[in-house]
Structure formats: C-alpha cells, structure tokens
C-alpha cells in the first residue's frame, strides 16, 4: 500500500494533517517548539489573545483531579499589541496553520483583535473563544445563549477578511446542537469543541476551594467520552449537512483517542492537557494516526471522518 495521505481540507484551507494543538495549552508557539517540531503539525491554536494584556487569575490556577485537571488561568495573555510585535514574527517561522484564539469582554474587543490580525499573513485563521469558564465577563456567557452566539459570530466574521473563523463551543448547555446551529447561522467556517466543564475541588481541611478563582475548567481524559458524544451528535445533526468541519478535542492523549474523534465526525483533532505530560504528544498522535490508516487501509484520512456505524 502507498503511504496514507494525512492531509485534510479544513474551512477552505488544505492542512498537512488533522493534528492541532488546543488553545491555551501550548503557549504562543515557541514554548512548544523546544520540545517538538511544530512545523509537523496540521494546525496550531494560540493561547487566547485579548485586545489588552491580561494578567490572569491569582494562584493556585490549577488543580489535578482524577484523569483530569481544573484550570483557571483567566486568559492571561500579552494582549494584541505585544502579540503582534513579539509573537507574530515567531509564528511566521513555522510551517503550520496558526489559528489565533480570540477572546474579549465585549463584542467590540473580539472585533478589534480579529480585524487587526486579519491582515497578518502568518495567521491562517481564528478561533472564537466564547466558552471560557474562567473569566467574569465574556467567555462562557456569550457561549450559552444561541442568539449571542449568532450575533458575535456574524459580527466577527465580517472583519475576519478571507481568513476562516472557527467557533469554540462550550459543552455546558442543555442542547449543543442549538449553539452549533447558531454559530453556523452566524457564518462560522468551522466548529471547535469542546471547551472545559466548569468544576470545583474543595480543600476539606481548610474548607475552601483549591483554586483562587474558586472554580475552574475540567479538561483531560476524564471528559473524553462526553466530548466524543457531543462531537458525534453535532456532526450527525448539524455539521455534516451544513458541510462545516469540526475540530474535536477533550482528553486526547494518543492516536486511538484521536481516531475516536475522527470517527465520531471531527475533521481534525486538538491535543490540550496531554501536552503537559508529554510535550511531544502531538507528534506521537500523528505517528499513530499514520499507523492506524495503514493498518485499516485508509488511503486518505479525511475519509475516516464520520464513519461511525449505526
């Protein structure tokens, strides 16, 4: 058999393979580059960028749980200006599709960041973070109301220029197909799912939450079966018909996990928390997917998407 072709079409882009980093878990790009060949990745999602720098929450910002962790980083980031000055030139050095994850308190902030970056050649596209559970304003409050999802997507899409706009969905809604439809109605070119689940760990000796922010977002293998279910549901009920690709994530740590998401309906997958334990995890996911395709005689990995049987 000839070598499997791992390239995919994703929101109008041709990517060399379906493996991305998840926002907030691999820095701006150079942090990860010390540990793996970032240019081997199909895509890279940056830490959330906001219009102004954000210091983020007090510490502790993380706590480990069974097969997972909570984080309440609070969108700590260097802000648009420094990102443009310091990080965009670095990003330009890597041969991967870099999506900037955009966050804000108001729609205007999302618009300002996207508009400014829509001109940057080094940036492949955007991921709209309307699902971060760790900030007081913006974040998840936008993401749970279908009307707001549509409005913000539509407004930001107008200023994204030719670059694709991905909308990141929160899993903490009664019916995720409703918000998925709203994002697509607003003009989303792709859906990314899922973000973390709001959760809490209590220190029973001090009787206070461990996290300074009290609550944090649960990520890691613990949430994987829920994420797979949600991707599968959105694919079957919404995305497939709409022809909109899904970037699937939640607990992926090896190629088998990634394959589950692809079979469920994702066109690409992102590795988040697992990079903390194995900073070269994306590479091994990639290698493993290659092997999986060979073993199953899948000539084009894009043909794996949504092949879940009834």
């Amino acid at each position: 058999m000839t070598e499997p072709n791992l390239s995919i079409e994703f929101a109008g882009l041709t990517l060399k393979n379906p493996v991305f980093t998840a926002s907030g878990t691999c820095g701006y790009i150079d942090e990860l580059a010390a540990f793996m060949d970032v240019s081997a990745l199909g895509g890279f999602t940056t830490k959330s960028i906001t219009l102004y720098p954000r210091k983020g929450n007090f510490t502790p910002r993380i706590v480990e749980t069974d097969a997972g962790m909570l984080n309440a980083i609070g969108l700590a980031n260097i802000g648009l200006d420094r990102f443009l000055r310091e990080k965009v030139p670095l990003i330009a050095q890597y041969d991967t599709a870099v999506f900037v994850n955009v966050a804000g308190r108001t729609i205007d902030e999302y618009v300002a960041v996207t508009e400014r970056l829509s001109q940057e050649k080094a940036i492949a596209g955007f991921e709209l973070n309307i699902s971060c559970p760790n900030v007081k304003k913006g974040g998840i409050t936008f993401g749970t109301d279908p009307q707001q999802v549509e409005t913000i997507t539509q407004t930001v899409k107008k200023v994204a220029g030719a670059k694709p706009l991905m909308v990141k969905l929160t899993p903490t809604v009664t019916d995720i197909t409703v918000t998925a439809r709203a994002a697509i109605a607003g003009g989303a070119d792709a859906l990314s799912m899922v973000n973390t689940f709001t959760a809490m760990v209590i220190d029973i000796e001090a009787r206070r939450p461990i996290l300074a922010n009290r609550t944090g977002g649960l990520s890691g293998p613990a949430i994987k079966p829920i994420a797979v279910y949600l991707v599968q549901r959105v694919y079957r009920e919404v995305a497939k018909l709409a022809g909109i690709p899904i970037l699937g994530m939640g607990g992926i740590r090896n190629a088998s996990d990634a394959a589950e998401f692809l079979i469920a309906g994702a066109t690409a997958v992102a590795v988040g928390t697992a990079s903390f334990i194995r900073p070269d995890c994306c590479q091994s996911v990639l290698d493993g997917l290659h092997d999986y395709c060979r073993r199953h005689k899948i000539a084009n990995i894009r043909d794996l998407t949504g092949t879940l049987q009834d």
Partner: protein, 312 residues
C-alpha cells in the same frame, strides 16, 4: 525554508540506583540518567528541577501509606511533578542525581514503591537555578523544610566551583521528624549534617519546636547571627529555598540589612515548561502600568531575585 525545531533532548529515562528512607516520610532517591539525560544535564545549576511522571508507578498497600494520605494519595495521577536535586555526580560518562522527597500525596506515595532497577520518565533540567554572584563572595544559604535539596546542591556547587567564597548554611525544619538529611556527628561528638560537612560548609539548624538544633524559625537565627556581626553587606548574598512564609521573611530580612537575595520559589505546576501559565508569581515590573506583572515559576524561576518578588 521554514524553521524546523530540533526534537527535545530533555525528555528522557532514568534508572533507580538507590532508594533510602531517611525519616518515615522523607526519602532519598538516586537516579542514573540515560545518555540523553546526561547530555542535557551537562551544565545544570542548583535550583533547576525535573518533572517526574509517577503515573505508571504502583500504589503501595494501604499499610504502607501514611494514614492521613489514604484517601488523597489513591487518586489517579495525570500530571508530572517538579523535584529539584540535592546532589549530582558524574558516574562514568553519565550523571547520577539525588532527589530528596517528602511523602505528601499521590505522586510521592507512588515514588515510595521504587526499587533499584526501576525506570522513571523525566523532563529536565528545567527552569533557572541560582545565579552565582561572583562579586558577593559571602554566601549565606538558607533552607526551610523541603527547600533543603537545592540548597544542599548549591553548597556543594559553591565549594567546588568557587572555593574562595565564604559559604554558610542555615537549615530550618518544623521538627526533628522533618529533617530531610542524614544526621551525623563530628569528631568532637557535635551533631552535623554530612550533606554540608562533607563539602566543608559550616551549618546551623533550627526546628520550630526545638526538638533539634536551635528552637525557632531559621530566619530568626540568620538574623541573630548575621546582623550584629562584622559583615560587609555589599559582599554578601542570601540564597534561600523553602516555604513561602520563610521566603517572605528572608526577603524582608534582606531588605532590612541591605543585602541581595535569591529565592527559589514554588507553585503548583501543570507542565513545568511554560505551556500552561499555571505557575504565576507576582513580581515587580517598572514597565507595567501598575508596577507589577506575573512571571512563570517554571520558566523565569524557580529562582528569582528577591527584590523582584512581591509577597502579598
């Protein structure tokens, strides 16, 4: 041509060579690094650390887990844990490192099951260690609790690389049970820590409860011995590692007596390599509008200049 970054040489395997119980809850683990790890450790500095993946290790039987950790320690582990080194030695063309650890939770409970020959996956060396200030040859080393390992490493490093410096160490612990070193006696029957005496570093010990050494906090002893002495503040520097309240006290003391200090800080770390931003430390930053910004314990630290750290 686009940039292709090198594969990392800092993810490697180490083999357990020795594992000793120092005190019921304190152990000393000697690891031999593989070739990749040894190469990465060629220019390691005291205060740097490794991230250990204890996830694959077995859980001891209930009777071998401290009772108060029975619930918490059985939790599954996902993340690595940071540990610094108390010593590092050449072993042929490889390095051997000593890790002194305190059994406090799921990872350290699992570490206790290691026997010689077992393997561990490590990332390191990570972070910035102590920066030896050559213009300040009076080095005062201060350790509190599990802050001892990098201070022990620093003592040995200073004596071998900077033999002209005047190095003294002060070590504090809560009680005799929590001294993470072997205890020995000198020819006169005086009590010493071989970890320091073997490299010729005079040292003094405090315990909070007086069960060993001088009763009180280690910073109190440092203050008593240093301040009134014939002591050139511009030639001296404090190097400290320990719990945050102790580091706060060191930083105050340094400011009060007008000497420099370097502090090795701790934060809960998810990654240890700058990816997650979990390990933020509040530091002075004249550039910032409000005069402060966060630095990352794992990347910018763990050792920071005392005058930069803001203790709330």
């Amino acid at each position: 041509m686009k940039h292709r970054s090198a594969q990392s040489s800092r993810i490697f395997t180490a083999v357990v060579r020795q594992h000793r119980i120092i005190r019921p809850r304190y152990r000393l683990l000697t690891l031999e690094l593989d070739a990749k790890g040894s190469a990465a450790f060629a220019s390691v500095m005291p205060g740097q650390f490794v991230e250990i993946d204890a996830g694959p290790l077995s859980l001891p039987q209930d009777k071998d887990i401290p009772a108060e950790l029975l619930d918490s320690a059985k939790r599954n582990i996902m993340l690595r844990r940071p540990f610094s080194f108390s010593a590092i030695r050449h072993k042929g063309n490889k390095f051997e490192i000593d890790i002194s650890y305190h059994v406090v939770g799921p990872s350290t409970v699992r570490l206790t099951t290691l026997v010689p020959g077992d393997s561990l996956n490590l990332i390191g060396p990570l972070g910035n260690g102590f920066r030896i200030d050559q213009s300040r040859p009076i080095a005062v080393l201060i350790a509190g609790g599990m802050g001892a390992p990098p201070i022990q490493h620093l003592a040995a490093h200073l004596k071998s690389h900077h033999p002209d410096m005047r190095v003294t160490a002060f070590i504090g612990a809560r009680s005799l049970d929590e001294i993470p070193f072997d205890i020995g006696t000198d020819p006169d029957g005086g009590i010493i820590f071989p970890a320091f005496s073997s490299v010729g570093v005079p040292h003094a010990m405090t315990t909070d409860d007086g069960s060993f050494g001088v009763k009180g906090f280690v910073t109190q002893l440092v203050e008593k011995l240093l301040v009134p002495g014939p002591f050139q503040t511009d030639k001296a520097i404090l190097y400290a590692c320990g719990p945050e309240p102790m580091l706060t006290a060191v930083s105050r003391l340094a400011a009060k007596i007008g000497v420099h200090c370097q502090l090795s800080m701790e934060r809960m770390m998810a990654c240890g390599i700058g990816l997650c931003q979990s390990c933020a430390i509040k530091t002075r930053d004249p550039q910032a509008e409000d005069g402060w910004s966060y630095r990352l314990c794992c990347k910018d630290g763990p050792v920071l200049d005392g005058k930069d750290v803001i203790f709330d």
